[in-house]
């Protein structure tokens, strides 16, 4: 039996659909080659390699959406997917705004592929994970163990074709390091971690990541709860990114249109503090989420969501744009070939300010520097309310008084971003989301 791969597979889907009289159809194929190396106790505990591929079929029949997916590229597999998608369309509601986009004349070409990645021997990559663990362990005698020291990389290729003439393909790669380190003294153990991702292997620094993970763990030793009170807060770039992520949902046009965003109708309004600039940039050079076209084949671009605290725009895909009378911002995102293209982020970040982190800390009379939060997934992106566990450092004018853990912080994300008193110059990315250090006027800390 013959197989149809990638470009051939998507074309075959169009042919089969056409023969069945289906007029509007789109096929999306993706293939991944993954490597995961996890080291602990000076050896490789897990080594995983894989090749994954799948295809999603989307069709619009009589203004109704149908979708199905398959990992079977034989004719019968593709036919089953088309039939399932067609049957699904019979039962979904008609929607006049459903639309497949037309191809563009030009597409940006961000740098998304490291051609050396596949050439680097497995043993070299394994050694990187082991080296990172050694660096972390050697950093301080109180480093008890490294929970995991991991290297991962992915190479992917995408093919997209549609009855509207889309016939696109793209490739990319990304690689990254992550480490979780345990520091201990006689009384307790604390964990610290760090991660770093890039599209290019040469950017990975196992020494830096290892040491950062270790020092983050050490900083939390000897901590305690504080008394319940309101206090000034400084968010480390990692925690700030987590808060940004919670805020981000309100900028997706789908949420705006479905009354799940309190920012609806507030374009032009100054909702956040001055100096806040929030950006989604799909053409960021070496951005891990960069791509030349989005999940529907629309060319991508850089979008400004917040400019100097003012709501500038929302992110759209073809459907939401059509509904709003606008153009797609190139933000159709598929979480996998098994998912439809919904509105999503690419490289999403809060732009750096001009204050050094040390300055922001020294300028704070007394406050809580938050290094980690727990339970952020329970926060409510619609109301913006959050209540999460927190740990970090209690500071007085930048000097550590003692570490803090076992407390919870609560607030509302929209209020927080309207209370920003200082923005660091240290924009740091954690995968495709990033932020600098942020100084917040106050939050409620629950402890004793």
């Amino acid at each position: 039996m013959s197989k149809f791969k990638g470009e051939e597979a998507v074309q075959k889907v169009l042919d089969i659909a056409k023969s069945k009289g289906i007029k509007e159809v789109e096929a999306f194929y993706v293939r991944y080659e993954d490597l995961e190396v996890e080291a602990t106790q000076s050896k490789i505990e897990t080594l995983k390699i894989s090749e994954e591929e799948g295809l999603g079929v989307r069709l619009i029949d009589d203004q109704r959406l149908g979708f199905s997916y398959t990992t079977d590229f034989e004719v019968q597999g593709l036919e089953e997917a088309i039939e399932n998608a067609f049957n699904a369309a019979l039962l979904t509601k008609e929607d006049e705004y459903l639309l497949l986009p037309v191809p563009s004349a030009t597409y940006p070409q961000p740098n998304t592929l490291d051609p050396t990645l596949k050439e680097i021997p497995l043993s070299t990559k394994i050694e990187m994970a082991l080296k990172m663990e050694r660096e972390a362990k050697a950093f301080d005698k109180r480093i008890k163990l490294v929970e995991s020291s991991s290297y991962t990389d992915t190479f992917y290729e995408v093919a997209l074709a549609s009855s509207k003439g889309m016939n696109l393909k793209r490739q990319g790669s990304y690689c990254g390091l992550s480490i979780a380190v345990v520091a201990a003294d006689e009384e307790e153990s604390q964990t610290g971690f760090d991660i770093f991702y890039s599209t290019h292997y040469e950017d990975l620094d196992p020494v830096k990541v290892g040491i950062k993970g270790a020092s983050n763990a050490l900083k939390l030793l000897g901590g305690k709860r504080v008394n319940t009170k309101k206090t000034a807060i400084i968010l480390s770039p990692y925690v700030a990114s987590e808060f940004l992520s919670l805020l981000g949902a309100s900028f997706l046009a789908e949420n705006v249109q479905k009354k799940k965003s309190i920012l609806a109708g507030r374009e032009g309004e100054k909702v956040f503090s001055s100096g806040i600039n929030i950006i989604d940039n799909a053409i960021l050079d070496k951005g891990v989420a960069s791509a030349s076209f989005d999940g529907e084949g629309v060319p991508t671009r850089r979008n400004i969501l917040v400019e100097d605290g003012r709501i500038a725009s929302f992110l759209h895909n073809t459907y939401t744009a059509n509904k709003a009378g606008l153009s797609s911002t190139g933000n159709a995102r598929r979480d996998s070939y098994k998912a439809t293209p919904e509105v999503g982020f690419t490289n999403f970040y809060l732009a750096p300010g001009d204050r050094k982190e040390e300055e922001l800390l020294q300028d704070t009379e007394e406050g809580f520097y938050i290094m980690e939060v727990m339970g952020m997934h329970t926060a409510n992106p619609i109301s913006g309310d959050f209540s999460v566990g927190a740990s970090g450092l209690w500071l007085k004018k930048g000097e550590v008084v003692y570490p803090v853990h076992g407390v919870a912080i609560a607030g509302n994300i929209f209020e927080i971003f309207a209370m920003i008193e200082g923005i660091g110059d240290n924009l740091t990315f954690y995968g495709s989301i990033g932020s600098p250090t942020l100084k917040i006027k106050e939050m409620m800390v629950s402890g004793e």
Binding site: K48, S189, M374
Partner: protein
Amino acid sequence: MDLAEAEIKAILERALAQGGDFADIYFEENFRTSIFNEEDRVEKITSGREVGVGIRVVDKGNTYYAYSNDLEPASLFDLAAKVALCVAKDEKNFALPPFATKRKGETICRIKPDKVALAEKVKIVERCNAAARAVDERIIQVTISYRDSIKKIIIINSEGEWTEEEVVRTQLMVNVTAREGKEIQTGYESMGGTTGFEIFEKELPEDLGRLAAQRAVNLLLARNAPAGTMPVVMAGEAGGTMIHEACGHGLEADLVQKGISVYQGKKGEAVASPVVTIIDDATLEGKHGSYPFDDEGVPAQKTVLIENGVLKSYLYDRITALKDNVSSTGNGRRESYQHKPIPRMSNTYLAPGEKNPAEIIAEVDKGLLVKKMGGGQVNTTNGDFVFEVAEGYILHKGEVKEMVRGAVLSGNGPQVLQMIEEVGNDLNFDIGTCGKDGQGVPVSDGQPTILIKELVVGGRMEEKDE
């Protein structure tokens, strides 16, 4: 998956050709359907078939793993060769024992999802939607997700074991958003299990929708939860997230053996108050975390983890069991063929006691009553955990007072287990997806009404503001 024993044998031997003490092949075929309803209509129906295979070699406790979507024999042989290349020890010939009798298992399911017309599934979602929206005019959005799956699994290992199972799951989740002026609140409910469409005969979609909608509306008027440390009563109907975070993860043998669990080295010791007995049971019929065999082919079982406060056992998979010189407890689970199995919970619960829940509530002078929990998270190294209070009430002089909102409860696992003072007679379970090491598996968590001496409540209201 039409593979002859001889072909499988050749593949396993190839995988072990460059070292290893154990290998297994995990075949999976998963057919899923999901229906998404929002904006008062069925927006999206998705279905699809995913087929995949994972080949694992274990060498002295280390794992070498490869997966793909290609089940052609030649491709499987290649995959096995790739894994062997990763093991890269001395070449040796692993002698596979003959295959034992095939063991088969399946979830007990009366109405299989592939025998139900898509239109019938759509009706379930529409009924839920209509009931939720009818609750109150302040409801501005109802989001409903129906999911079913038929997962066929074949696990064959180098010890000659051949296990086949079919697991059916059905789930319904609803999230309701209500608004009054500038205030927006949401209520979430879910139901589901290793069961077929018959689940909707006993648990009505309308009830689910109404419950979520009522909570969203009630939360509009709730005041901010207090901030500080206080006694907490967790109602039986609240779910079992606390147990899951307070000790469930900490009792997974891989974390214990890595030295990152506070429960390490404590077998035989008192780790909880004497009224606490905690059990993990994958054999409970129809429960969301149940299965006939785990994802290494080990039969599901009931494991008493903590008995009357004393730590009895951890949750084991094959690799960790070997290390501790015990048998696997059948808790080796994987999200899919794309992952190696690791110790996971199944259905984890605090066993019920004798006390009447109303009496427990009456004991509290000043505290919090939790009627519904949301998600949570734990740092097993130090035992600190949090979980969300989705619905809470002030307790004052033994009486349930006003509803409060917006808080996580924070505590330390071993400390909290020691502080459980009363255990009610009303065991209830809630379903969820447990995440660990980048893998999500379906679980259920349960507990009866319990009184905890104190937890940190992360509200926004300082007590002195009252």
